[in-house]
């Protein structure tokens, strides 16, 4: 019983990392039909944001008393950073490729290569400066009335906004690199995020120790899922997003700005990747390749759950998580030691993390033989679906 509970907890913990990572992907893929292979790199940006936030809290004197709460601040920052980069990506590349998912796949792979090399060869201080410049450049026009932005005067105002943002970015980069020496040089080495003291250790419950970081990740996932469901179901923009998903031309006719919907959807999907990055940074060291480890798993979650279905995504990630723990950690063998020997030796063969992956992916492919469109398929009457 105790063993079962522990296994369940581990499975849920693995699954919730997968879920928070796949959530953004499910939104972007399910609602917009865009295959974003740069999703892993957006997670990586979120993880690096956590690292930078932590360093700033450590070094800057007036923030030092609040060091313990940097993780919570980092979640917000990571959301904004990844969201900003995502919106830039949507505006510059993906906008041209709607309706051809294979093309988005290739283009976003290119973006992911560039982002990986970017964090390797640009000092993190100036990288954050660039993100801040982008942030202000992209978002400050939203707070200026449309009258000011039209005509020749508008162009001047837009240009000056970008100029101001660029200055701000350079200034931030300079200040950060002088304050925190670790951020002033480019490095391809992995970095580590140290958890604040209240997150170390675990909580004992019925004789099992639950690590606090894992619990926090489960909490982050839970909140993200609830917020996303609330946003899509209850808010005006959420309803517009769903309307555009169902019928784009009709929504356009009814006065919904599909372009804005695209920006918001992609921004939120990317922002959630950033939140996932925070979770990932708490689990292990952060490097340029950290996103690549998750991307295929995330896609499997989305496909297994059924595209465009949040419930499916949730179920799929938890079942993959629990399976990973049962097979990969060899727990199935401990729970049920006297199983028939051929099954025992087979499962024993797969009882490492990487071999468990082999088995689970193979099982997913077999599952898709029976349900090609996942657990909860989208209903439609098209020839193609």
């Amino acid at each position: 019983m105790q063993l079962l509970l522990e296994s369940l907890f581990n499975g849920v913990a693995i699954g919730s990392v997968l879920l928070v990572a796949a959530l953004g992907l499910a939104i972007v893929f399910g609602l917009m039909g865009v295959i974003n292979l740069a999703h892993g790199e957006l997670m990586m940006l979120g993880a690096y944001s956590t690292y930078i936030t932590q360093l700033i809290f450590k070094q800057v004197s007036f923030l030092k008393p609040f060091y313990d709460s940097y993780v919570i601040v980092a979640i917000g920052i990571a959301f904004l950073v990844s969201g900003t980069v995502g919106i830039l990506l949507e505006r510059t590349v993906i906008r041209r490729l709607y309706g051809s998912p294979l093309e988005t796949l290739l283009a976003t792979w290119g973006v992911s290569l560039i982002l990986q090399q970017f964090v390797r060869s640009v000092p993190l201080a100036y990288a954050s400066g660039l993100v801040i410049a982008l942030f202000f450049g992209l978002f400050s026009p939203l707070f200026i009335s449309d009258d000011l932005l039209s005509g020749a005067k508008g162009k001047l105002i837009r240009a000056s906004i970008w100029g101001f943002s660029a200055l701000l970015g350079v200034a931030t980069g300079g200040i950060l690199s002088s304050l925190v020496s670790k951020l002033s040089r480019a490095s391809a080495r992995n970095v580590d995020v140290t958890a604040p003291s209240w997150m170390r250790g675990g909580i004992d419950f019925v004789g099992i120790t639950f690590p606090k970081t894992r619990l926090l990740i489960i909490l982050i996932t839970l909140i993200s899922v609830l917020v996303v469901i609330f946003f899509l179901d209850k808010t005006a923009w959420g309803i517009r997003i769903r309307a555009v998903t169902q019928n784009r031309p009709m929504s356009d006719c009814l006065g919904i700005s599909t372009e804005t919907v695209d920006i918001i959807t992609f921004g939120i999907g990317s922002g959630l990747a950033g939140v996932a990055g925070v979770a990932v940074s708490l689990l292990g060291s952060v490097g340029p390749n950290v996103g690549g480890n998750y991307i295929v798993g995330c896609f499997m979650v989305v496909v297994l759950g059924g595209v465009g279905n949040l419930l499916g995504t949730i179920l799929a990630s938890f079942s993959i998580g629990i399976m990973t723990d049962l097979i990969g950690a060899g727990r199935l063998l401990t729970i049920w030691p006297d199983m028939p020997s051929p099954i025992y030796s087979t499962i024993d063969f797969f009882a490492t993390t990487s071999m468990a992956r082999v088995m689970i992916f193979a099982l997913i492919v077999i599952f898709l033989q029976f349900r090609p469109t996942g657990m909860f398929p989208q209903k439609g009457r098209m020839v193609e679906s």
Partner: protein, 375 residues
Amino acid sequence: MSIFSTKKSWINLTIWVLIIALIIAAPSLLPVFRLNLLGRYLSLAIVALGVDLIWGFTGMLSLGQGIFFALGGYCAAMFLQLNSAGEFPNGIPEFFGLYGVEKLPFFWEPFKSSIFTLISIWLLPAIIAGLLGYLVFRNRIKGVYFSILTQAALLVFFNFFNGQQKLINGTNGLKTDVTQLFGQMVGSEIMQRWFFWISAILVILAWFFARWIVRDRFGNILIGIRDDEARVRFTGYNPVMFKTIIFSIAGGLAGISGALYTVQSGIVSPQFMTVPFSIEMVIWVAVGGRGTLLGAILGAVLINYAKSLVSEALPASWMFIQGGLFILVVTALPEGVLGWIRKGGLKKLLFLIGINKKLETYPSLEVNEQGEVKS
């Protein structure tokens, strides 16, 4: 002779003579290192031809060609390892000793035969590709789902090969450059020269083969599947069969390519099955021009050559260039370079920069320097 009567045939003949002369002369023109690189890139052109067949002509974007590439490589490497294993304890390859394995795993046995190896290099990947493809296509899984599934399959194979030290030396891979073939070291200069020639000839043969496939009705059906699969099905064809066949052909080509690449790079390892490598294969075809077989070959050779040159000079910048290429080719040049040229891109470019003046007429006419209309 009637086939040489037209001007075009003469041009064709000259080009072929040039190509063959270059292939024969290449070993004396290039330093050993460059020749080896060129040979490797030529072998990569074969896998690119396969990618072009399934993606450019049939519209299926496979991100898992690395599986078949590596399988071909492993077949060749296993034979070479066994071929020179006689001097080691138990008569089995050296690395087995590290893991305390004393008996050859059963699936190594047939690779003692050279004929079996030569067949299995292309047949084994083709069979596995056919099986995988059939299972996927039968369920009408296509488009991005197909791409994601092939990527997942790639990871399955990668993790499997990476984790099995006792069976195939796991993450270290199998070395081939110190093995013996015909009494020569495989990594020696003379063997490498022969492998270069074999690669060059096989690229040409593979090109003829691919052209033969796409030229007739079979090729038309493939293009039909790419453009509208439902319509092909309603017309009475069974797309599953055609897709399975072409996927398995591409797998076979990938196997040949992998075997040639392995003997020339000196090692086969699970690194051949990483995700980036398989996506790179797609970009060679995309840049060269999907749906143009020559584009696939040129793309594979030239991009890899550029990669090695850039990486030697500025190691960090290749990732930026490659990433930029992906974005550029998808947004600006969806037909690839060769497709763009074939659609009159060069003329348009000349027109844009004002060298070639054109009158606004239909059909379009060109003007000469004096501004008169050319006849």
